[in-house]
């Protein structure tokens, strides 16, 4: 484990050195990333010009909703910083046969393929997310209890683990199919469902969709559960989703690992 931590530290250091070599580009990347986020926040502010809350009686009024948005930003910033830059390269590695060079190295292939690049500019969004979280929590009718503060970081890690597992499953599909740019689009589209409170998925179409995104691909647990714990009053019923999220995160990690190993076993090199 310490060997892998040390290697990851080397990767991170190399990425930081490269980012700092092109400092202007790094700053520009941070700014554009923040611009995207600012645009989304402006959209939510616009929505609250026309409504007091998202969904009647859901409790997602302005302050709790922005705590929800901040939670999503923090989780996504961690995923974008640690895993996405490496995952984005995998399609080309498979298509060109570059994956062979990864497989012959004396390291775990999943570790090497998912964590060899670190995008520090994505951390900017996470820092703004922390600021937005502080702003939102200061405006709640009731401040979060100490137990909510204790569980919140654990649930954030669970959210990251579920998203990481989804990336690994898509990486496995890439290895099996050879080319699947659409499946990476699929990652963005499916995580889109986690951007809003689960309560909006109601009615004859929304109910089954909510169930599928909770129990089949547990994407609705990623942001909803930690955000609900920190932004809404904790009740006895809150503990089931908490336990479910921790269980879903562990199960996702195990299943994605097995699927990835199985995909690697079926890999046929594309190189000559």
């Amino acid at each position: 484990m310490s060997r892998y931590l040390s290697i990851f530290g080397t990767f991170a250091r190399a990425c930081l050195v490269r980012d700092m070599t092109f400092r202007a580009n790094f700053v520009l990347e941070c700014v554009t990333s923040l611009g995207w986020m600012a645009m989304n926040l402006a959209f939510y502010l616009l929505v609250f010009q026309f409504t007091p809350e998202i969904g009647a009686g859901t409790g997602w009024s302005k302050a709790p909703f922005f705590a929800f948005v901040a939670t999503g930003m923090i989780i996504n910033a961690i995923v974008q910083t640690l895993f996405m830059p490496s995952a984005e390269e995998l399609t080309e590695l498979v298509r060109t046969g570059g994956l062979d060079a990864v497989l012959v190295r004396p390291l775990d292939a999943q570790f090497l393929l998912s964590m060899h690049r670190v995008d520090f500019s994505s951390l900017a969004n996470g820092l703004v997310g922390l600021g937005l979280l502080g702003w939102s929590l200061a405006r709640l009718d009731q401040p979060p209890p100490p137990v909510a503060w204790a569980i919140y970081p654990v649930l954030i890690l669970c959210g990251v683990a579920i998203l990481y597992s989804l990336i690994i499953m898509l990486a496995a599909a890439t290895i099996l199919m050879g080319r699947n740019q659409s499946l990476y689009d699929f990652w963005f589209y499916i995580t889109n469902f986690s951007r809003y409170p689960a309560e909006i998925y109601a009615g004859p179409w929304g109910g089954p969709l909510r169930a599928a995104c909770t129990f089949v691909i547990p994407i609705l647990l990623v942001v909803n559960v930690p955000a609900r714990v920190i932004a809404q009053p904790l009740t006895g019923q809150s503990w089931w989703p908490v336990a479910g999220t921790i269980g879903a995160a562990l199960a996702s990690l195990v299943i994605s690992r097995l699927v990835f190993q199985s995909a690697l076993a079926k890999y046929r090199s594309a190189s000559s």
């Binding site: 998202i54 009686g57 589209y189 909006i200």
Partner: protein, 298 residues
Amino acid sequence: MSQAGATGEAGSGLTAAWQPLAGLRIWLTMLTICIEERLVYRGDFILGTLMRFLPIVTQIFLWTAVFAATSRPDIAGYSRNDIVAYYLLTMVTRAFSSMPGLSSGIARSIRDGSVKKYLVQPVDYVSFLLAARVAHKLVYYLIAIFPFGLVFFLCRSYFPPLPDAATILAFLASLLMSFLLGFFMEAALGMLGFWFLEVSSLMFAYMLVQYLLSGHMFPLDMLAGIPTGIAGVSLAEVVRWLPFHYTAYFPAAVWLGKIHGPERTAALFAEAAWVIVMIVVCRLAWWRGTRRWSAFGG
């Protein structure tokens, strides 16, 4: 190792362009090649088309929840059904105006030098890209008509009754011009690569502006109440002076009857004017860019 230098000269491409039949034959050949290329990854293409509907689904649920929590019968003149119809119609509009990979592809070809083949072959680069994009769109519509048809049939209750013939014609004209506007704006953006080595951040900034100001995120009429600091001028009016809204908002608003009569006619002429401006900008960028560009290699 020998080194050969090539300086931009687009003159050879003009020979074919001035012979109408030969030019048309080349263009049709390019179109056929691009269609065949597009059909190689059919499964990937179909999956990608279906996936594009997923963000709309969340928007529909979001606005349904917003209307459920408010007592207002409409928001900026849009009922809940209008908003759903609007998002679906912007999907159609974006299917015409979005040009994924166009500007980045042009910038890459300038950076890695592959653009040089268009300078020595009797093929005009912009025409080739246009043919490739038409081919991409034709194949896309061929496949997308089924999921689009299915979704629009399922959501038919959200739409107002079929508009009159003049509105339909205006809608079709705005769609065709949105394709040309989208193409030439992105192509011009990609040609910034002649002046800057790395343009990815500029492209991302453009994408942000385009996404916000095109009306892809929400109907731009919602900005009507937001002041700009200029007396009597709202943010919605400022956005309508720019070309971006023709690539998503305008055709959808035309179909839904939000823009009609002389205002619609004037907007169509303004859109045509923007298309001409962007064609000129793109041609000028190519002309100036190829004269300052040079490549070296064996």
